[in-house]
Symmetry: C2
Subunit: 458 residues, 2 copies
């Protein structure tokens, strides 16, 4: 069975029903709505894929195929009954295991939470369910979304790390288990795995997606975000997660398909990009530097090299101070009461974090808006900042989830970031990161769309 | 020359021109506008009073009678020219020496700032000048609005402390140097001196009066407030300091005089007061406790004893943690660079403050709104909270400015507080403190007006 028009040209190999798991969410939901296939058929292909790949990739902390199939059956019945269908009707979504889904284990990657099953959905899951999505299961997180690596492997190269902390979410989307997944970022936990696994990742503006029902480790940094295999899918799910009344884009996309996509292209015909090395640049490896330099060359006059004045140079330290201070507040009780259940890495880190002085924290907090205003002024002249998403390819081995040094600075500023799988190094994916003004995700998507078209064509 | 109608009956002895300094701001501005006397005549009486009393009271850090008189002359000329007159036209106001006034020394009570003369007015001073007020000079503050006592004496008993840190502002108003003065509160620096000196003091909702051009020691606590010798004056100056476009009360008062006053009485005919001992109660002396118990008895069914549940019991510690943390951020550089110019008391305090952990600070910050919501719920049932303004009368001697334990808790919550000079102990004034919801100063004034009438009559 032919699937018909593919908006994003991401799934050229899909020619029969065995590959429905490779469809984008957009193509899948339209296929279901137009009755080319059912949610149960889509679900069956996703389950088959997971069962085949999970022994190697280990992306799932909780996965119950019977439950998932029962939900798909309900979705199909809803359609048969002629009920109104949401923009993610019948689409399976992976949920990082620090975000609660009612009735599914929520162990946060830590024995401290063994056998914990939340009785309520998180706000993000409530929104997804409203949009018609099916909660596929809980994806593997590093220990409490912190640094200690998880069991997950990089599907592009099983000898490599998937990155963290949203390890299972990025890997499951990259490996075609599900078209969409939720992640969270406090340092680099969405963008870095997106870069390492070669998927699209969005860390939205802080505060846009409700954190109710999520394990908090830092109230000024923690941000829920999303993974997909193309920009349109990313925009759809992000839209479903934020206040749906303020923006009709998701419905629009479903009703008018490629029109919105064309609008993106139209409204961002000649964007201007500011390339920032950022203070993280010295940590990037030569392959990563070469990869982004090639992209910059290809962008030609659309991209200018820029610098931000001080205090931008201190931004990495400020992020670290805020992370340590707030993490110590939220995880301090675990150190005090469950020290023996923490990994050595997290225990040692929390012992150090506990010594963060209030004056260091306040200095870092007070600098935040000053630095943001420097960035904002730059973005008055440019459509987006362009920089590396990671220091290099996913690390070989599983001692570390890789450096988040290209991510924490943006998380600290609360700005939206996209990782686009447009670069390669060591024959592995590497993300090109775009950064925008707080709250202006739409412009970020438009410029991202332009740059994807441009770099793929060149 | 008879002064005519006295709104507040605070100045019964004023029967000739020698006592214009004893007038309320309201009576004085109306006297000037109705040409019963000039701003220069008012100023002359204030200057005479200051020159007579300043050697004993020591309320002024900077006072230049010639400059003040020249400003009064300008005010009179403005009136002669038929220009529009502000609600504080020709009225002298004292400015605490941590708030900048252009061209006047701004030494913050510390040799670190010796010979500092700011080139710009603070926002508060700009507002006062717009309202027509004359900046009389800079009133004495404790060392950088912290704990180390100043040279100021309590005009009610020169052997006693005026309290701190707004020592000179409260003393100068109490001693009829000026009808109005600005203070600041981070712990108890407005309400405590109001209580000790027997004047009216308002610490408004945090953030209502701009702090631009003020020495910051704690960005979540520092609040500019006002002193006067009656409620109407307090309301007028507070109104001039906040955004004047949002509330026409000050103009209203000037045009319609007692009508507004009567409105207060009308709209708060039978207010309900919740008496809270607060966690500070064990620190109050027996005289203070007896004084407020007598007031409660007199209020009869208008006042109920109430308690707030936890975490209210921790509120004093939370205030201390926030104060220490933020003070260490703002004053840390003084400790690092000018240690020898700090008093031993402040130096020792800053050394301890520097050790405040970020996690303690964050815990205190995060508890703030939770506790406020408990208070807010109580204030859904009552018009105001009533409690002591201080632990007792002004201390004898000058080792300390007295305890601020009845004040820091409300400063922490950011709520408006009034100290009314309605109680006495040890033949000294003692404030009755009223506390309201954030932003609802008007209701606080109304209920304060009712309680003053009630307790004076009883």
């Amino acid at each position: 069975m032919a699937i018909g028009y593919h908006l994003t040209n991401q799934t050229p190999g899909v020619t029969d029903m065995d590959d429905l798991n490779k469809l984008s969410a957009f193509d899948a939901v339209n296929g279901i709505r137009k009755k080319r296939f059912t949610s149960q058929q889509l679900m069956a292909d996703c389950i088959t894929r997971i069962e085949k790949r999970e022994p190697s990739v280990r992306a799932w902390a909780h996965f119950d195929p019977e439950h998932a199939m029962a939900e798909a059956k309900k979705a199909d019945k809803k359609q048969d009954n002629g009920e109104r269908l949401g923009p993610l009707h019948g689409i399976p979504v992976g949920i990082k295991d620090v975000i609660d889904a009612k009735g599914m284990p929520g162990e946060h990657g830590s024995p401290i939470f063994a056998n914990r099953v939340p009785e309520k959905d998180s706000e993000a899951v409530i929104q997804l369910k409203k949009a018609g999505a099916i909660i596929m299961g809980k994806t593997v997180t590093t220990e409490m979304a912190n640094l200690t690596p998880s069991k997950t492997r990089n599907p592009n190269d099983l000898k490599r790390s998937p990155g963290g902390s949203s390890s299972g979410s990025a890997a499951s989307v990259a490996d075609f288990h599900v078209p969409l997944a939720l992640g969270t970022q406090t340092g680099g936990s969405i963008i870095r795995p997106a870069s390492f696994n070669g998927v699209h990742g969005l860390k939205p503006t802080v505060g846009q997606i409700s954190r109710n029902g999520m394990l908090l480790q830092s109230h000024t940094l923690d941000t829920i975000g999303v993974y997909a295999r193309n920009l349109v899918d990313l925009a759809i799910i992000n839209n479903c997660l934020i206040d749906q009344t303020t923006d009709a884009m998701s419905e629009e996309i479903l009703e008018e398909g490629s029109k919105v996509f064309k609008n993106w292209a139209k409204t961002a015909e000649t964007p201007k990009f500011a390339f920032l090395e950022t203070p993280a640049w010295p940590e990037a490896d030569i392959g990563a530097k070469n990869a982004i330099e090639t992209a910059i060359t290809s962008l030609s006059s659309a991209c200018q090299r820029e610098r931000l004045p001080d205090p931008f140079s201190k931004i990495i330290d400020y992020h670290a101070a805020v992370f340590a201070a707030e993490n110590s507040h939220y995880y301090g009780p675990f150190l005090d009461n469950h020290s023996e259940l923490l990994s050595e890495k997290l225990r040692d880190r929390l012992i150090v974090s506990k010594t963060t002085l209030a004056s260091e924290y306040i200095a870092a907090q007070n600098a935040r808006d000053k630095i943001y205003h420097l960035l904002e002024a730059l973005l008055d002249d440019y459509d987006a900042v362009l920089c590396l998403a990671a220091t290099g390819a996913a690390p070989i081995g599983f001692e570390t989830t890789g450096s988040a040094i290209f991510n924490g600075l943006w998380t600290y500023l609360g700005v939206p970031c996209l990782s686009l799988p447009l670069l390669t190094t060591e024959k592995m994916p590497l993300g090109l990161q775009l950064v925008g003004k707080r709250g202006d995700e739409r412009k970020l998507f438009e410029t991202a769309n332009w740059i994807e078209n441009h770099l793929k064509a060149s």
